[in-house]
């Protein structure tokens, strides 16, 4: 058996990869949110000088990548792989954002769980001694996501209270085989869970069982108690999904409520900013980690966190065909 595996789905690193640097760029609404001051750059309009939402999202990816290189003092030649993904068809925000570089590219899709998927793959590549520096970057754009998944922006419709607001933002992390910073000690790659939810306006409820499954598997595989972590943070369950996840965990004897939160509830002021059940998107977990959490880890305010990005693996076609929503969650254990 592979010696770095523990339990059913978890990998324990022998040389835990170091998160040596992060970068984040977000939109104006995110900039006005409670975490606004933690991000590297807040753009002042959604198009950012581009002609289309898609071009704007690619620009955000491109600029996040160059910000990350600038902050870490690395050049493109130092980076062995960039692993990226987003919500748009065929991952075009990532590919068009990265096409000007000369870094080996791996595209991934895990809906809003993509950042943790990328970090899991990146960490394995580094611990496997296949690379010294890997960049993981994921993005989402409210306007391009609405256009692809829902309705035109100017259509006068109402959202139900369970709907979530796609984050306009991008977060990138640099994983290195050596250096200073918090380390990724374990990753638990999730399995697809589908509890039969069909409502694309209630993705939190669809994803919560997947999040609980991954957290539970992680704790069982590693033998950690929930209080091993200062914070267990899911990606974008929102207010409905967070409650369900807590209840599922409590029922099987793991009370995580005291050290449990959700990136989708941190990035916006839910009441004042009118985002209904909370935020979502590949850029949600990514920008909250790269902007806010990473600084908390560096400053020692958080010592150990479990980052559990969650994804609803649906498409507009599957929804129209009446399919249920398969969901996934990947956990990354980070220690400062």
């Amino acid at each position: 058996m592979a010696e770095k595996r523990v339990g059913k789905q978890t990998v324990k690193f022998q040389n835990p990869p170091v998160i040596t640097s992060t970068a984040s760029i977000v939109g104006p609404k995110e900039g006005k949110g409670p975490l606004g001051s933690y991000f590297d750059y807040v753009i002042d309009d959604e198009l950012w000088g581009e002609k289309t939402w898609e071009k704007a999202e690619s620009k955000i990816v491109r600029e996040t990548l160059s910000k990350l290189l600038e902050k870490s003092g690395k050049s493109q030649e130092d980076i062995n792989y960039v692993i990226a993904g987003d919500l748009l068809n065929q991952d075009i925000a990532s590919t068009f954002g990265i096409r000007g570089t000369s870094i080996s590219y791996l595209g991934v899709f895990g809906a809003c769980s993509t950042i943790c998927e990328a970090m899991a793959i990146g960490s394995m590549i580094i611990d496997g001694n296949f690379a010294d520096n890997v960049i993981c970057v994921t993005s989402s754009h409210f306007c391009s996501a609405e256009k692809q998944f829902r309705f035109p922006l100017e259509l006068g419709t109402q959202r139900p209270p369970t709907a979530q607001w796609t984050v306009l933002g991008c977060g990138g992390v640099l994983l290195s085989s050596r250096g200073q910073g918090p380390r990724i000690t374990h990753v638990t790659v999730g399995k697809i869970v589908d509890k039969g939810i069909k409502d694309a306006n209630n993705m939190g409820a669809a994803m919560a069982p997947a999040a609980a499954d991954t957290i539970l598997t992680h704790l069982k595989d590693t033998g950690f108690a929930p209080d091993y972590y200062d914070l267990i943070l899911t990606g974008d369950l929102g207010i409905v999904g967070k409650r369900i996840c807590e209840e599922i965990m409590a029922e099987v004897g793991f009370d995580i409520s005291k050290r449990f939160n959700d990136c989708g509830l941190l990035i916006f002021d839910r009441e004042k900013q009118d985002v209904h059940a909370g935020a979502s998107g590949c850029g949600c977990c990514a920008s909250v980690f790269a902007g806010y959490l990473y600084k908390q880890l560096l400053e020692g305010k958080l010592k150990r966190i479990l980052l559990v990005a969650t994804g609803a693996l649906l498409s507009p076609t599957s929804t129209q065909q009446g399919e249920t929503i398969p969901s996934i969650a990947h956990a990354v254990s980070i220690e400062s």
């Binding site: 002609k51 289309t52 939402w53 898609e54 256009k147 309705f151 035109p152 922006l153 100017e154 259509l155 006068g156 419709t157 109402q158 959202r159 139900p160 209270p161 369970t162 589908d194 509890k195 039969g196 939810i197 209630n202 409820a205 069982p209 609980a212 499954d213 207010i239 409905v240 409650r243 369900i244 209840e247 599922i248 029922e251 099987v252 059940a277 249920t324």
Partner: protein
Amino acid sequence: MENVAGKEKKLIKDYTNNEYRQYVEKISPKSKTLSNVIRAFIVGGLICTVGQFINNYFLERGMDKDIAGSITSIIMISIGVLLTALNVYDDIGKFAGAGSIVPITGFANSIVSPAMEFKSEGYVMGVGAKMFVVAGPVLVYGISASIVAGIIYYLLR
């Protein structure tokens, strides 16, 4: 864990899909129906009142009833188009819901908003192809229903 007649309560993670859907339905926040209905009533009523004023104005000027109705519709559609283009109609819609979707201004909004959104894919495959992406079903089934109604009317006459 509560024991009901010796039967242990089922855990959420063991729920069947149906049981889980019922549980989610129960705990999810609901739309505020009463305030939504009141808002829809007020805004929808206001839009219709504006239309009535315009209609009355033309009738007073001695315009034929049918022509006044058509011109009123054209003006209301233009107002809907203008408010959509000025990025205002989506805010009205967020507040009023069906109150601003059902009147003819809402119909205009449902055609203009995708036209604006998909302009980036060009005038043929973008604006042209996507313009009726929201209103299309209404037109298809509205026109079909009126044909059926027309046939029934013809047969009963």
